[in-house]
Amino acid sequence: MNQLLSQLKSQDKKMWRMSRNFRVFYWIMIPVYTFLLVLYPSDDVVIIERLGGGCFVLSFVVFAVLFSKNAREFKTIDYSQPSVQMLESAVKRYRLWKPELAWALFAILFIDAGMVLMRIPRAESDSLLMIILNVQYVLVPLITGSFVVGIIWWYVKHKPLRDHALHLLNALKE
């Protein structure tokens, strides 16, 4: 019992540290990036670049909120709920499409816009359309690749859990 207790306490401590470090990282990085990309006093940086930097910072904030929400959701799995409720939460937690993903897409759009805006002052001869297309050449394969990896990850890791919870839930409710 004492051995188990010390393991549990160290696990709790580890989780708490991870969550704290994560928060500290974001709350330091967000102002640092805001200063470097948006507020940095330099005549070389034009307003459109600062707007691009603002887009990056905004995407950073959205991802920070999403990650901490996600971490909290997985950390607080409550086994003391009635079984039906616990299984419904599990089905919800492990489904493929979540409303948060829409926010992630929103953040990706900010990154896209940020990359385009930051390129504009440096691309002397390219038209705006060419700049947008050039950014998409890089970003679209990256995002598509990330989504494919995410779907494979979900299929292998989360779908079996969701299916199992769904099966139990249907068996309980039938």
Partner: protein, 182 residues
């Protein structure tokens, strides 16, 4: 103010036998039983922060125990064997609450009963384990999150299925359990 560690120790101390009994329902060897017991303790620890005292501690413990067993992978769970001890006081409630003779008869058929129970689905096993713990339909409903009539229907179906599987009339006599449908 009692800290989390003390509260945990107290809950485990007060409910140790209850948790071990639930584990024994599903495990036919000591190692499996110990693993499940450990898993339940871990989940008690994790859920302790959210315990508000709204439910009775026994209901809270049963929820964690049942949810822990449901959370195990389907394959692992199917391998678990439901075990009924000879001295279980509530065994008779599966078929009949009345009559010592019938209970004796039932105990003689224990092995057969265990085999039949092991054919049940995961959910049915969970409901049976709570019934064998002596919980009423209302308490079972509170643990699993279904309505009381729904639990009564399910238990009735399980009993019917067990009776059919037994295929003999000796378990059918004079059955008016508290969980029986009117």
């Amino acid at each position: 103010m009692i800290n989390k560690e003390e509260q945990f120790k107290q809950i485990v101390k007060d409910n140790e036998e209850r948790v071990r009994r639930i584990c024994r329902y599903y495990s036919n060897c000591n190692e499996e039983s110990k693993d499940m017991y450990q898993e339940i303790l871990i989940n008690i620890w994790k859920s302790l922060d959210s315990y508000r005292g709204e439910a009775a501690i026994s209901t809270w413990i049963y929820r964690i125990a049942i949810n822990t067993s449901l959370s195990m992978s389907g394959k692992t769970f199917k391998q678990l064997k439901f075990r009924v001890d000879m001295d279980m006081q509530h065994l008779g409630s599966l078929i009949d609450d009345n009559g010592a003779e019938q209970k004796k008869l039932l105990e003689k058929q224990l092995d057969r009963m265990q085999t039949q129970i092991n054919q049940l689905t995961i959910i049915d096993k969970a409901l049976i384990s709570l019934l064998l713990e002596g919980l009423s339909s209302k308490e079972i409903a509170n643990v699993v999150g279904l309505t009381e009539p729904n639990v009564r229907v399910k238990i009735h179906r399980i009993k019917e299925s067990l009776r059919k599987s037994f295929g003999s009339g000796d378990l059918e006599q004079g059955q008016t359990s508290e969980n029986e449908l009117p």
